[in-house]
């Protein structure tokens, strides 16, 4: 913004009052066409300045002065108290409590907050009661520069661009514009290592033939007879836990850290048992369950929240984020809500030792839809 815009006449100020009628009356050039003639009531002008009680009564003035000073002194005291509270009270769960809440946080918040409030209220009280309260009239003029200024600016620009030859020397101009445009490419390419390309990573999980289903809390493998009708168990593949191999050897978890989180976020499943006669499996999936035990992806097909609200009478599974409702007795079909796809189902079988295992990976990508999903 140009400093020159702040013309001096901008700041001609006059004490408002009846003695300066030109300041408040109808303006000679109404910027928004408020013609005075058509107006039913003439602008009565700024009201006379009315003195405040503190302007005329010295006792009140003195009292206001004291009030403001007391507030500032109070703020100083509270600032010191804040420091005391900082050292006196221990923070956290082991610290002192007051009325059931942490004393440290409470005392620090109260002292800091009240100190600040007192400073603020004091300053405003000072402004309202004691500082000058004459309203001032400042003239406006349009936001635009004067026509001459604009012409001169354009002329300067024209002269400058003429001297540069920017318009004339098209070879230089176009090659410069071309190179500047192409500089966008390095800027974009440079970000290439932000992440790997998606590939088909979203289409696979760690489930494969023979991977045992385990309880996601303690990592214990699940037997069909341990799951009661109506029960829901949150499951994960055994690979995520330390477990005992077929020959009795101890196998370490296959994943850890952020890798584990990535795989968990795709492989999480829920295992439910329903009465076999209640289940109407989609075509081709009749043998994906074991005696009414079915296994579905836990990841909502809407935007990927883990689903876990199980209504055993209606066989519905509700997502707590956006209320998509899936019917597990009907192949994970969407009964209601914003999700569009059925929950992917994991085919189950029982291994030699009688534990539930996967027949294969999911046969479609789990989780939210994406463009390449098909």
């Amino acid at each position: 913004m140009s400093q020159d815009k702040f013309h001096d006449d901008d700041f001609e100020r006059h004490k408002a009052g009846k003695d300066n009628p030109e300041d408040y009356g109808e303006s000679s050039e109404p910027m928004a066409g408020r013609g005075a003639e058509s107006e039913p009531i003439r602008n009565p002008g700024l009201p006379e300045h009315a003195p405040r009680p503190t302007d005329v009564d010295e006792t009140l003035e003195r009292r206001a002065e004291l009030q403001v000073a007391m507030m500032f002194i109070g703020a100083s005291a509270l600032a010191l108290l804040f420091c005391v509270a900082y050292f006196v009270f221990e923070p956290g769960v082991e610290g002192e409590t007051f009325l059931g809440v942490g004393a440290s946080n409470l005392a620090l918040g109260l002292t800091l907050g009240l100190a600040m409030l007192l400073i603020g209220i004091g300053a405003i009280q000072w402004a309202r009661k004691l500082m000058g309260d004459h309203e001032i009239v400042e003239h406006r003029h349009g936001a635009a520069s004067s026509d001459e200024d604009r012409e001169e600016a354009l002329a300067a620009f024209r002269q400058g661009s003429e001297e540069s030859g920017f318009g004339r020397r098209t070879l230089i101009r176009n090659s410069l514009l071309g190179s500047l445009g192409l500089l966008g490419l390095p800027a974009v390419v440079l970000l290439g290592d932000l992440g790997p390309l998606p590939g088909d990573a979203l289409s696979h999980t760690v489930w494969r033939r023979g991977v045992r289903l385990v309880n996601d809390v303690d990592g214990q493998p699940l037997r069909p007879e341990a799951i009661l009708t109506g029960q829901l168990v949150n499951g994960q593949p055994e690979l995520f836990f330390e477990h005992v191999g077929p020959d009795g050897e101890v196998i370490e978890p296959e994943y850890e850290g952020s890798e584990l989180l990535v795989e968990e976020s795709k492989a999480a499943v829920i295992v439910v048992r329903m009465r076999p006669e209640d289940i109407s499996p989609p075509k081709g999936r009749e043998d994906w369950g074991i005696d009414g035990i079915l296994c579905f992806s836990k990841i909502c097909t809407h935007v990927g929240c883990p689903i876990s609200l199980w209504e055993q009478q209606t066989h519905q599974l509700l997502c707590p984020c956006h209320q998509s409702t899936f019917n597990l007795a009907a192949g994970g079909r969407v009964d209601f809500g914003p999700a569009s796809r059925s929950l992917p189902q994991l085919p189950l079988m029982v291994d030699d030792e009688g534990y539930l295992v996967a027949v294969s990976d999911f046969q479609e990508p789990v989780g939210p839809s994406f463009w390449e999903r098909g």
Binding site: Q3, K5, F11, Y24, S27, P30, R34, A36, P40, I41, R42, N43, L46, P91, G92, S104, N105, L106, G109, L112, G113, M116, L117, G120, A123, M131, G132, D133, E135, I136, E138, H139, R140, G142, G195, A201, L202, N234, S258, L261, E264, S265, K266, H302, G304, P306, I307, L309, P320, H322, S324, P338, A339, S340, P368, F370, W371, E372, R373, G374
Partner: protein, 576 residues
């Protein structure tokens, strides 16, 4: 610069120049020229002008508390075993981000206060920005020459929302992790490049270990930097344009009436910073917010019931909840309308409409003048109704976002709430539009009545022949003037287009649409009375005749008995 300027002219009595730090500073910066004009700059007074100030000061509180938090917070997704003082989580694996947030909450003195102040002031920042925006909208303060500041303000709001989301996602607790998972689902729904965007943002598959550090840079450097720059531009334009003011006695479109920056507004605005800071500190000390320790660390296989985003993201979450489950699968590709529309397009549509609105209104009304006086919302019925309709749609989405919380409270099935919101999103704004517009027009009519006949005193008198009537008393000249400060607006005329033979052109095209919209905008306005009408009305009162307005018996005006010795209004009009 000429070197002779500082030399005193010989012979003239030399005035002692100012010395000391002022001279030192001015000789190096030349700031005195600016200061002499700006130190006594005038600002008008009104409570609603304070809303933007709340936003400004809470941003300062956010910067101060945020710097404190950054000294302890570790933006890292590296897995650690928690060994801190909060026993319930001891021994659990969690990210360093979550562990350091626990440390801030339990082991750093004042850390919990700063965390809670930071979160509260973020809420305050967004709430005050939104209400400030509504104030600017409903009073027409976005009109020329302030359109650019409207756009800057919108950018501030949009960035503020993103900044808030980034902020509450950083602690890597269970709730914020769910929010990020939803954000990932929304990214995936973008056609063609969705998976690439997601993989590039998360450094691979969700959640990975890159996202929190990246989000941290965005949250503490990138967005605050842009916000600071935009706030500076917002304030500079405000200073340059000078603040809008309410019309009133002595307050015209050509002046600004108020108190000077030094001392009154320095004290008031400066004091107000301390009040905003103080209130935030009290909230941080007394009101719990985002107790991340009770949510636990993020685990992609877990979720909490009643998962809610912070309130300013609520409307978007509501959109996700009520969108029908439409998805198109064709040629081996999937397009998820159910996520794309509410997750991506809704935000874009809302902000596009808001950004274009000043220009649309300007085109419809054909008003290209500068406006520094604020509109009373009632005097712009169509704009006000549009604003209320927009608020209604926003409110419906907000209700939708709370369906799982409201359902049990009000004993309404969630499905019913969703269907109410689906239909209400389209129907309720229309209803509130009509009601608001009629309401504004009624208020206009009421203003006109008050001007012509004074206010209703509630005093009923019985005339000698047994009729009852209410006494109307005149209003003060200032009140009367305030009711007439708005402009008389007339709809644009349809342009007359004729061919060479004088036959009117059948198609009016764009101008025809514009004229119809303009008529819709203004044609129903109740015009304020003219000077002649006012005089006429007052003469009637003095003749003591019962007045008939629109065939309705209003009552006998006996203004002289109640409001003073004479009808002051009339005196004013006679003078003009």
């Amino acid at each position: 610069m000429s070197t002779t300027t500082s030399k005193a002219v010989p012979g003239t009595p030399k005035k002692q120049p100012t010395g000391g730090p002022v001279a030192w500073m001015d000789e190096r910066t030349g700031l005195a020229g600016l200061a002499k004009k700006q130190l006594r700059k005038v600002f008008p007074d009104h409570w609603s002008f304070m809303l933007g100030e709340i936003a400004l000061w809470s941003f300062v509180v956010l910067l101060l508390t945020g710097v404190f938090l950054s000294f302890w917070f570790k933006p890292s997704m590296t897995e650690v075993e928690y060994m801190g003082s909060y026993a319930a989580l001891r021994g659990l694996p969690m990210s360093e981000a979550y562990a350091s947030t626990l440390e801030l909450s339990f082991d750093v003195r004042g850390g919990l206060l700063m965390r809670q102040m930071h979160h509260w002031s973020a809420n305050l920042f967004l709430a005050s920005m939104m209400i400030h925006m509504l104030r600017v909208f409903f009073t027409g303060a976005f009109r020329k020459p302030r359109e650019m500041n409207w756009l800057i303000g919108l950018s501030l709001l949009l960035l503020g929302i993103v900044e808030g989301f980034a902020g509450y996602s950083l602690p890597d607790d269970l709730l914020s992790g769910i929010g990020l998972r939803i954000a990932e689902g929304i990214m995936l729904s973008i056609p063609v490049v969705g998976t690439y965007i997601s993989f590039f943002a998360f450094g691979g598959e969700f959640p990975g270990d890159d996202f929190i550090p990246r989000l941290y840079t965005v949250h503490v450097l990138l967005i605050p930097g842009i916000l600071l720059g935009l706030i500076a531009a917002h304030m500079l334009l405000l200073v340059y344009h000078k603040h809008t003011q309410w019309p009133g006695p002595g307050r015209t479109n050509d002046n600004v009436v108020g108190y000077p920056l030094l001392p009154v507004y320095m004290a008031k605005a400066g004091g107000f910073f301390f009040i905003v800071f103080g209130v935030t500190a009290l909230m941080g000390g007394l009101m719990q917010i985002n107790p991340i320790w009770s949510y636990g660390p993020y685990n992609p296989a877990q979720v909490t019931a009643d998962s809610q985003p912070d309130w300013y993201m609520g409307w978007l979450d509501g959109g996700l909840r009520i969108m029908p489950n439409w998805e198109t699968r064709a040629f081996g590709y999937t397009l998820s309308w159910n996520v794309l529309v509410p997750g991506v397009l809704l935000l874009g549509i809302l902000f596009t409409i808001l950004a274009l609105y000043p220009f649309i209104e300007r085109w419809i009304t054909g008003d290209t003048r500068e406006h520094h006086l604020l509109d009373r919302p009632r005097n712009q019925p169509t704009r006000t109704a549009l604003g209320v309709a927009g608020m209604t749609a926003y409110g419906v989405l907000w209700i939708a976002a709370g369906n799982d919380v409201m359902g049990p409270i009000f004993q309404i099935p969630i499905a019913s709430i969703i269907w109410f919101c689906r239909i209400g999103f389209f129907v309720l704004p229309v209803i509130t539009f009509i009601i608001t517009r009629r309401w504004c027009l009624s208020l206009q009519r009421h203003d006109r009545e008050t001007l012509l006949h004074g206010y209703e005193t509630g005093v009923i008198v019985r005339s000698p022949d047994g009729g009852y009537s209410e006494i109307h008393a005149p209003i003060s000249p200032v009140s009367a003037y305030n009711l007439t400060t708005h402009e008389r607006r007339t709809p644009l005329e349809l342009p007359r287009r004729e061919d060479a033979n004088g036959v009117p052109a059948p198609k009016r095209g764009k101008e025809g649409v514009r004229a119809r919209l303009s008529r819709f905008w203004y044609a129903d306005d109740v015009a304020k009375p003219t000077a002649a009408e006012l005089e006429e009305a007052h003469h009637q009162h003095h003749d003591g005749q019962p007045e008939l307005e629109d065939g309705r018996h209003v009552g006998i005006e006996t203004g002289g008995h109640v409001g003073g010795d004479d009808f002051e209004l009339e005196q004013t009009t006679k003078k003009s």
